[in-house]
């Protein structure tokens, strides 16, 4: 995982946390308009960044949709480069953050 990819992944992790924190708050304050507005703002930013990540580096999940498929034309099971790129990127416990 190169530096740029890691930086984008870290941004996604941070945004995911912000969205979660607002969501937990909204679970017990479901009528707080300001919090809902912030939650939505960050949720949309998160969605955009995930789309960017997916287009540039491949999917974070096994159910991403990308019409620009495929990302690799040189698929090789021996070299660990697959058409099914979900399994191509490092697992969270293998990454040097």
């Amino acid at each position: 995982m190169n530096r740029q990819e890691l930086e984008l992944l870290k941004k996604i992790m941070a945004l995911e946390f912000i969205v979660l924190e607002f969501s937990l708050y909204l679970n017990t304050h479901p009528c707080d308009e300001d919090a809902l507005e912030d939650q939505q703002y960050y949720a949309c930013k998160l969605k955009d960044l995930k789309r960017t990540y997916h287009q540039e580096y491949g999917p974070l999940t096994a159910r991403c949709c990308n019409k620009e498929y495929p990302w690799y034309s040189n698929c090789s099971e021996q070299q660990g480069r697959y058409l099914w790129t979900y399994i191509d990127s490092p697992w969270p416990w293998q990454i040097n953050y």
């Binding site: 995911e16 946390f17 937990l24 679970n27 017990t28 974070l60 999940t61 969270p92 416990w93 040097n96």
Partner: protein
């Protein structure tokens, strides 16, 4: 349902192998007040709890606990990665190696396997939410002890994040208890 994303909730960076610390961290991987206990506890309690706020809180905090469990697993994995077997033995992880090799296993810091008897799930929502408030405080206290035991800034950083989450969850469960209490008071007045 649940969906997996190939990312951690919070990053894990360790300076070097630290088997002793890995052993202690098992407290939060498979001990009584571990992230595993927390996740199973909340996700089991949610079916019968009254109010939508409480169902949402148990579901989403329970889900977050599973993400914390993954962080703990990552910490233990990184702290033990590539160490020679003899070192595992010297540090008291020989018994773990005999039974599991270098694979992780949900047991506590002393090697006792995880058990459902660590948790309670009760139809009475006041009893249940008090159990959860206590669980968050016990986990917070455990993280403080683990932070005291570590001298790795990366490990301390991740443990500090997890400690803070216990505080936030305690807050949310307190609010949930108030909501449920109001609901119960209203119910008894209506009768």
């Amino acid at each position: 349902m649940w969906m997996y994303e190939k990312k951690l909730q919070y990053g894990v960076e360790v300076k070097k192998n630290d088997l002793e610390m890995a052993k202690y961290l098992y407290a939060q991987y498979g001990g009584p007040d571990s992230e595993l206990s927390a996740g199973i506890r909340y996700l089991t309690q949610r079916y019968t709890i009254p109010t939508d706020e409480a169902k949402a809180t148990l579901t989403d905090i329970g889900t977050e606990e599973l993400a914390h469990w993954e962080i703990l697993g990552t910490l233990i994995y990184k702290l033990t990665e590539g160490v020679p077997i003899q070192e595992l033995r010297d540090i008291g992880l020989g018994a773990h190696y005999a039974q599991h090799g270098k694979a992780l296993y949900p047991h506590d810091a002393a090697g006792s396997p995880w058990t459902a008897s660590y948790i309670q799930s009760h139809e009475d929502p006041v009893a249940t939410l008090h159990e959860n408030l206590a669980a968050e405080q016990k986990a917070r206290a455990t993280y403080e002890n683990l932070i005291n035991l570590s001298n790795d800034p990366g490990v301390i950083d991740t443990l500090s994040f997890l400690r803070e989450r216990e505080v936030v969850h305690f807050q949310r469960f307190g609010e949930t208890l108030n909501i449920v209490q109001e609901y119960l008071d209203k119910q008894s007045k209506d009768c």
